[in-house]
Amino acid sequence: MTTTTNLRDAEVDSSIRLRSVTKSFGSTEVLKKVDLDVASGEVVVLIGASGSGKSTVLRIMSGLETSDSGEVWVGSTPLHDPRRAREIRGHVGMVFQQFNLFPHLTALGNVTLALRKARKMSTSEANTVGMRSLERVGLSDKAESYPSQLSGGQQQRVAIARALAVSPRIMFFDEATSALDPELVGEVTAVMRQLADEGMTMVVVTHEMRFARRTADRVMFVDDGVIAEQGDPEQVLTNPQHPRTQQFLRKVLEA
């Protein structure tokens, strides 16, 4: 059993490839030919001003939006093919700015919903997996709490546990700490760092420059619908080449 699981794990391809991806909302062109590669196990941080298109890139990679043209490959799944785009559901994890926890379910109920419904696990089996998932984010003692009884940081950690429960190939974070009080940001970024250390493939949209510097393998600066600059965090954040990157970082660091 263990051998087959490991074999399957080894075969799981969690690379991402975007080629000339475009996307418009109405007459607004949000993405203008984006090319992007993420290797298995890599942690990529997307930075950029709001409206630059970085969240749209993330939503396309997680199957929440479809691209207008170009190719989007997540592992061997072609998301640009509308007939096959759904195959990605349940195989990647997404953490939202507003948590999006299900308010009518407990923390454990949130974490186990997909296991019970989509994976057809028995309740006891799902609870075992769910508790393990809550332990990973340090919240097994909150299993029976409802989202409204948890702090923002705890809610976001439950949301991460919920995404982890289905054993995703890739984790996407869409400004996961932007809605949190400053003193609660650390507990969430700590969980994210721990996932990165465990070798999870991650694409993170964030304004937390400290997180980017300490955890990212690569930082991409998205500007006006294209990836204007990319490289290792030190290079992009300390010594940016593109004038728009310099301008953006100056503003962020002043704030």
Partner: protein, 216 residues
Amino acid sequence: MNTDLIIESLPQLLHGLAVTVGLSVAAIAGSTVIGLLVATARTSKLPVISQLGRAYVEIFRGSPLPITLLFIYFGAVYYLGYSLNLFVAATVGLSLYHGAYVAEIFRSGIEAVHVGQREAAQVLGLSNSQVFFSVVLPQTRRIVMPPLVGQYISLVKDTSIAFLIGTVELMKVGQSIVDRTGQSVPIYLSVAVLYFIICYPLSVWVRRSDRKVVSQ
């Protein structure tokens, strides 16, 4: 006030009340099923489906309930060649009519659930129907409960209109006693009290669920 007459008429009135309760329960179930289906259609992304849902709502909200009932009853005779059981005809008519209002209540509830809830469930791998039944619908319950029970109260009172096609429910029983005895005030008053006895608990229930929503 003629209390003897009221006491004497009580068994008949209670029999009418039983029919009214049966009619209410059946039509509440029917209108809820219709309401859910039509609301699902109205919130569909396919324009044809949502327009059909919209047409349903407009048609039944735009016609008086007595006409709907008469049309169902006499329409069955005219088009099918036989008359429906009076209880069935009344149930169908009330369900179709109130289904349109229930659909609008469900629709507003479904639309009040934040789109992020759906997105989170989709990424987790839930199918569209699982998203609807496990994530969206349970959250609409808190939003729709107060207006929904209000609608059910209207429905209970509207069962009295079934007397038009001859269904022997509380209103019809009361009316025939009045026809026989000429004592309208005590009988209609008794009938009103009996309606109140079914509607008031529903009303209390709404107020309680209202309070619960506020405290959450």
